[in-house]
C-alpha cells in the first residue's frame, strides 16, 4: 500500500469531509479530491460506498473506507507521524468518548433546535446548551484544563470533530435570530473555537466561513419555507 494513490470523494460544504481533509493536511499526506454532486452521485461513489452512498469516502489504492471517524483513525494508523490521537489508552478513550458525544448527542440536539416548533424551541436550546456545558467543563477544569486545544498544544481528533461544522451554529443563529453559543455562558469553548479558526491548517483547508454560512443559510431557509 506504500505509495498507493489516495482519492477523497467529498462535497465542499460537508463538515464530515472537512474533517478528513484537515487530517490529511495536518499529516502532510497528498491526495486527489473529487467533488461529488450529491443530487447526482457518481458511479464511483456508489461503487466505493454501496452501503451508505455518502461522502466522505477515502480510496487508498483500490481500498475504499467510509465514515469520517473511521477514515481518520485509518489515516492516523497508516501514517504514524504527527498523531491525531494521543498514545495513552485512557486518554484515547476519553477523546473517543467525547467524539461519540459530539456526533451522537451534541449535534443531534442542535438539529432538534432547527426542527423544533416555536413552543419547543426554548427547551431544545436549553438541552443543547446543557450538552455543550459538558465540553465547556472539560476545557475549564476537566481533562483539557489549561489547554489551547482539546488535543493539547496541537489540534487533535476531538478538535477536528468538534471544530468542523460549527458554521452550522453561526448560520442557524442568523436565520433563527437567536444566540445559541454565547461567550458569557461558554467562555472556554468560545476561546477554543477562536484558536481553532486561527490555526494555519484550518485556514488552509476549510472553505471561508462566510461562504459556508451562506450555503447553510440557504438550506435552512428552504427548510423553513
Amino acid at each position: 500500500m506504500e505509495g498507493a494513490p489516495l482519492k477523497l470523494h467529498g462535497m465542499w460544504a460537508s463538515f464530515y469531509v472537512h474533517r478528513v481533509q484537515l487530517v490529511l493536511h495536518l499529516k502532510g499526506v497528498e491526495y486527489e479530491y473529487v467533488e461529488e454532486d450529491l443530487s447526482n452521485k457518481s458511479r464511483a461513489l456508489l461503487l466505493q460506498n454501496p452501503v451508505h452512498k455518502k461522502v466522505p469516502v477515502l480510496l487508498h489504492g483500490d481500498r475504499p473506507i467510509a465514515e469520517s471517524t473511521i477514515i481518520i483513525e485509518y489515516i492516523d494508523e497508516f501514517w504514524r507521524e504527527k498523531p491525531i490521537l494521543p498514545t495513552d489508552p485512557y486518554e484515547r478513550a476519553v477523546v473517543r468518548f467525547w467524539c461519540h458525544f459530539v456526533d451522537d448527542t451534541l449535534r443531534p440536539s442542535f438539529g432538534a433546535i432547527l426542527r423544533s416548533s416555536a413552543e419547543g424551541q426554548g427547551a431544545a436550546v436549553d438541552n443543547f446548551r446543557q450538552n455543550l456545558e459538558f465540553l465547556e467543563a472539560e476545557l475549564r477544569d476537566g481533562f483539557c484544563k489549561g489547554r489551547k486545544f482539546f488535543g493539547g498544544e496541537r489540534i487533535g481528533l476531538l478538535d477536528i470533530v468538534m471544530g468542523c461544522g460549527l458554521y452550522w451554529n453561526s448560520a442557524s443563529e442568523d436565520v433563527l435570530g437567536l444566540k445559541i453559543i454565547d461567550q458569557e455562558s461558554f467562555p472556554f469553548f468560545t476561546s477554543w473555537f477562536e484558536s481553532f479558526n486561527e490555526a494555519k491548517e484550518v485556514k488552509e483547508v476549510i472553505p471561508p466561513t462566510e461562504k459556508l454560512v451562506e450555503y447553510v443559510k440557504g438550506l435552512l431557509q428552504k427548510m423553513f419555507n
Partner: protein, 226 residues
C-alpha cells in the same frame, strides 16, 4: 504496586454490556461485575458515567470509561493478549465499519420491526431484511467477520445471535433462515460455540418475558395515536 482493579457496571440483559463481558473473557481479565438497576441508578453509576448515566461502564484503576465501542478499543489497547482488532489498518477500519453498521443501521431497523404493526410491520421487515442481506454479503466465505477467528466486528454484532431468535419467537416468523442466509446462519453457530462465548447469553426465558413486556408496554403507550 497495587493490584489492577477492574469493575464492570452493567445489567444482566444489555447486549452492550455483554460485548464487554465477551472481550474481558477472551482476554482473561478478571473483573467485578456490578449489576445496576436502571430504574434506580446507583451513586456509583452516576459518578462513573455522569454524561449518559448508562451501562456499560468499565472502571479500571479508578478511571471510568463509557460507551461500548470506546470500552472495547480501550480493552484491546490495554490487555494485549488475544487481540480483538487486527493489526492491519485497513482490516481495522473494516471491523469498525461493520460494528457501526450493526448498531446504527441494523439494530434500529430490527427495533422498528419489533414495534411495528400492520402495514408498517411489512415495510419494517423489508428494511431489516435488506440490512441482513448486506451482512450476509460481507460475511460470505468467512467463518467470522474477522476471518478465521472471532474479533471486534463479531463481538459488536454478537447480539444478533440471541436477540434475533428472541424476536423470531415473539414475532412468530423466521428471519435468519439457512436458505436465504447460509453464511449468517453458520456464523451464528460458530459464534455461540466459540470458547468464552458459549453459555454466556442471558437466560432465554427471562429475556422472552422482558421483551414481550417491553413490546406490550410500547403498544399500550402508542394505542390511540397514529
Amino acid at each position: 504496586m497495587a493490584e489492577a482493579e477492574v469493575k464492570l457496571l452493567g445489567t444482566w440483559s444489555s447486549p452492550f454490556v455483554l460485548r464487554i463481558k465477551w472481550a474481558l473473557k477472551l482476554k482473561g481479565v478478571e473483573y467485578d461485575f456490578i449489576e445496576e438497576d436502571l430504574q434506580n441508578k446507583s451513586p456509583l453509576l452516576l459518578k462513573y458515567n455522569p454524561v449518559h448515566k448508562k451501562v456499560p461502564v468499565l472502571v479500571h484503576d479508578g478511571k471510568s470509561i463509557a460507551e461500548s465501542y470506546v470500552i472495547l478499543e480501550y480493552i484491546d489497547e490495554t490487555w494485549k493478549e488475544n487481540p480483538i482488532l487486527p493489526e492491519d489498518p485497513y482490516q481495522r477500519a473494516m471491523a469498525r465499519f461493520w460494528s457501526k453498521f450493526g448498531d446504527e443501521k441494523f439494530l434500529p431497523s430490527m427495533w422498528k420491526f419489533f414495534i411495528s404493526q400492520g402495514e408498517k410491520r411489512e415495510e419494517a421487515l423489508v428494511s431489516a431484511s435488506e440490512n441482513l442481506k448486506i451482512l450476509e454479503g460481507e460475511l460470505k466465505g468467512k467463518k467470522f467477520f474477522n476471518g478465521e477467528t472471532l474479533g471486534f466486528a463479531d463481538i459488536s454484532l454478537g447480539w444478533i445471535v440471541d436477540t434475533v431468535s428472541l424476536l423470531e419467537e415473539i414475532m412468530e416468523l423466521k428471519m435468519i433462515d439457512e436458505q436465504r442466509y447460509p453464511s449468517l446462519s453458520a456464523w451464528m453457530k460458530n459464534f455461540s460455540d466459540f470458547p468464552g462465548i458459549k453459555d454466556s447469553f442471558p437466560p432465554q426465558e427471562r429475556m422472552l418475558t422482558k421483551y414481550r413486556t417491553l413490546r406490550e408496554a410500547y403498544f399500550a403507550t402508542t394505542r390511540g395515536t397514529n
